[in-house]
Symmetry: C3
């Protein structure tokens, strides 16, 4: 018996190994790949447009294309920009700015916002330490920018362990570095099998001696002809010591989606104002006012309900009720949701931020004291997946709202009326 068990076990092991080899081979066979940037091999494509014509066996009629270009002049000089046109929408991704997403255009409808910063700013112009640690804002105009990785949130002094093993202090700057680090590797991947998902992968390192050794492997993907995009990120601790991680997906919407009467819809378990200005409207932060001169930003900290797989769904609906943006994500991966309402004038930057995060945007020192900072062990990887969809019919929006109501499931929303101490 024992002997035949061993035989079975050996056969099983062999089959497993065989399957793994096959699987690895398939990974290559399953997709077309094109490297745009790779600093290790010295590959770097200055300007190139790729489309279905460049890859065998991909449907000719899909009408998608990927264009890599280099911007010039002003603060844009030397910025790498990639425009992923999927046949239904154009997504602009900025390898030079940590694979942030500048904006999305669906025909003439732009998803994004009007920042006082008009150019795609090369990080060489951004001194994160400037203005008491808020220099990050000098480049901030993206639809989606990641805050992190070593730290995110408000500037301020925090403790760290220095090269001598001693406790030291350092100034953390607003929202960390990753949005101002260029990707070291960018690769385009097209699934050979229908629906021929287009994937743009970027690798960004936040790594140094006596500092973090974090690697962000990000993928923005979309199906040709759809108005959906998925962000699939992995953050790995490449070092041999435990490493704190903060990551906030700072997703920003301005006109035309945002205007008076627009509405934020989510299955909210609890909501609390982060600052005094938010306290006065905490009973109904869901509604948006018109651009308002002298408006002081309001920030709300939320916990969201989710389904049994920890998946949640949030929605920003326009005032006419015929356009919306939705985000589906996992609250185990991103337990802290922050709603940022900066309803100032258009000139000053009328915008709302929907911000799923590992933490809230207090300084890391504060977040740590509340136990909201994940720590990655050596070689540990965490995954973060966000699925964005842009809706353009009242029917679809209605379905979404119903789905959110189902997540809420008549459970109460706890409202804390004043900011945390």
């Amino acid at each position: 018996m024992c002997r035949s068990f061993r035989t079975v076990f050996r056969v099983f092991t062999f089959l497993c190994a065989f399957w793994l080899v096959l699987k690895a081979g398939n990974l290559e066979a399953e997709s077309h790949r094109f490297v745009l940037i790779d600093t290790q091999t010295g590959q770097w494509v200055r300007e190139k447009t790729l489309s279905s014509k460049n890859f065998e066996g991909i449907a000719k009629a899909s009408g998608w294309s990927v264009r890599k270009e280099v911007l010039h002049g002003g603060k844009q000089e030397s910025v790498d920009l990639i425009t992923l046109e999927n046949g239904a929408m154009a997504i602009r991704i900025i390898p030079t700015r940590g694979m942030s997403i500048l904006d999305i255009k669906i025909n003439d409808f732009r998803i994004g916002w009007e920042s006082p910063v008009k150019e795609v700013v090369h990080p060489q112009w951004v001194n994160l330490e400037s203005r008491g640690g808020i220099g990050w804002l000098e480049g901030f105009n993206e639809w989606m920018v990641r805050c992190g990785l070593e730290f995110a949130g408000h500037p301020g002094v925090d403790q760290f362990t220095d090269n001598t093993g001693a406790e030291a202090e350092m100034m953390l700057t607003l929202h960390g570095k990753v949005g101002n680090i260029p990707a070291s590797r960018v690769e385009l991947i097209i699934d050979k099998a229908p629906p021929h998902r287009i994937r743009l992968r970027g690798t960004v390192y936040e790594s140094m001696l006596f500092g973090p050794k974090l690697k962000l492997s990000t993928e923005v993907s979309t199906i040709p002809g759809s108005t959906e995009l998925t962000i699939s990120d992995e953050v790995t601790n490449m070092g041999s010591d435990p490493q704190e991680l903060q990551l906030i997906y700072h997703t920003n919407f301005g006109v035309p989606l945002l205007s008076e009467g627009a509405e934020f819809i989510a299955p909210v378990q609890s909501v609390q104002p982060m600052n005094a200005a938010a306290s006065k409207d905490v009973e109904a932060p869901w509604f948006y006012a018109a651009p308002t001169k002298g408006f002081i930003e309001q920030v709300y900290l939320m916990k969201l309900y989710a389904d049994s797989n920890s998946e949640t769904l949030i929605c920003l609906k326009n005032s006419e009720g015929n356009r919306a943006a939705t985000i589906r994500y996992n609250v185990d991966e991103l337990p802290c949701f922050t709603l940022w309402k900066n309803l100032t004038t258009i000139e000053n930057g009328y915008v709302t931020g929907l911000e799923p995060g590992t933490s809230y945007p207090f300084n890391r020192r504060v977040e740590r004291s509340h136990g909201r900072i994940p720590v990655l062990a050596a070689d540990e990887t965490r995954q973060f997946t966000l699925r964005y969809e842009f809706l353009n019919s009242p029917e679809k929006i209605k379905e979404t709202v119903e789905e959110i109501q189902k997540l809420q499931n008549d459970r109460p929303t706890e409202t804390l009326k004043s900011p945390p101490e």
Copy 2:
């Protein structure tokens, strides 16, 4: 009566509108235009020489040219430089450094100075926060650099209103940012009508969320064959809140114009030393010494007399009395004049600065306390015009001196002997 008045009024309105349309059309018709840089449209000319040959109807014999190039190597790498050769002098303008003017050459006579900084430094190498906030000096070698726009003058802590509406503090760095911001748009304009004035326009934005939203529209212009140039600047508050503005035209002269016996001539209403080193020579700051080892810089704060249109005139005359530079400007626009004498050795940077400004170069905190900071309302624009001329005959210099004496008109010069407290 009333009815015919209305008719007249309507006709008048129509004629006004017609005239405006015509005028707008004329603006295009009046000039040749060539865009060299425009980040909004993606235009960027790497290398190009334009001259009368490129534009119809411009006199062939004028001998002017405009050359756009990109510098390479060292700290110059990627610097955009424009050389405007008007037939009598060559003006070098640096779009990458906020449209500063590097120097002017009249045949072999160079207007400018010998800074210890020898290259045209790309701002990527300048950390304004460095050395306790005087990092600006690591790129400083221009004949004319603007200090501003949000702040100018000495480094130091000042108050500002942060994104939460609260009073916060920030470190202001020496002479502000605008000299280290690249122009987002540069356009060459040639008047079709004689004398075919050549205009180089540049737009520089000092703009960000929760910060200033200032736009500098600058024009450097000159008439072919002349040794005059005019700076016509406009600063606009693009934001919807009031915004402080500081602007100093830091115009610097070294050898050969400056040497022992050179003289500063101006209609001085009052003069006061800014620092202790200036106190000892405050009775006669007009004269220049030879390069002096160990010389400590002297700074003098002045009010100047002007004519009934508020126009004043100042002059820097060489020791032989056969070369001079003059500046005509409006004391309502630029009420504060600062004379900077840094008469150290040639190696250390022998130079004098003639600095018309909205303010004196104290920290903004100090200038504000003296009411010397203009505040721009939302959408408000201020204009600043400076006309520079380079003279090369004793006769012309004599005329200039007489004109200055006429402005002084035997009125006294008040001398305050010690620095302001």
Copy 3:
């Protein structure tokens, strides 16, 4: 007698002058020269490979080449890199990073180390002021990087004389600026006479108004076919005031030369731990442990014995005893030797630094208080010469060890057991 003496003297003077003129002419005649970068003349070669074929009269068979290229993508974008292949080894020099030496390859054996920083980082990505003044580490991965010139060593506040002649304070950042300043001039020189030494000269300026005016003229040279290289540096004070100077040759070795059982061999007169972690192993800092998780860096301050010409010799030997690196230098030029042992895991940056310097790596404030900061008078130049050799036979290593023992000459090594106060 007196008269004939004068005649003899005149003839002697004339002959000396004649010889000097001849010599100057010979300098040109003695070598082939090729300018790769010169910001004063506007010369800049983007990509070029030079070899014996490009120069007349140089042996065809020597197999050397010099390749200039520009790196692209990620933090490497726009970095100038020069690979000097001498037939026996390939030396990679980075003009954009102050002429640092990235690494050396002898066949497949790499001299260098595995930093968590994987790219050749353009200084535009390095904010020296970051992380409390240790931003330098964000670009640190070279085999040999100079620390200096105005200051080197630990970050911290130090006094300096400001532009008004007053004592002021400024934050010194880790290891100074020179490793993050691009060369303004790079020239390749090939000796016409055998052994046709190949010299790569670079000029780096650390110069500004109201700051240092230091010029580093560096030469890396090697003889075709050898595994030796010589660094011949000159630092000149171009200003007219005395100027402090600090210079540390931070030479770093990781795997494969460094591993458990590797050994540092030197004629040590005295050794003292710089930090507490070093104290416990101060009796035998010569031996290296394997990569060790949680290892805290150990730093040792040493004085070395030298021969009658003040020449000393140090050696890093691998564990097998068949590979070694040696450095010969002058202890009058570089009196302070620092041994840095950072025996952490490979991922975290397993490395040892052999660091001949004008000073130890305390903050300049501390070094000054111990009289360890050379001051250059106006126009004064100091020379620094280091000869590196890479050995690959036990016999040669044995000879080297014997030579070091001869320098030690049975004299004692004084061991101070605790760090300086």
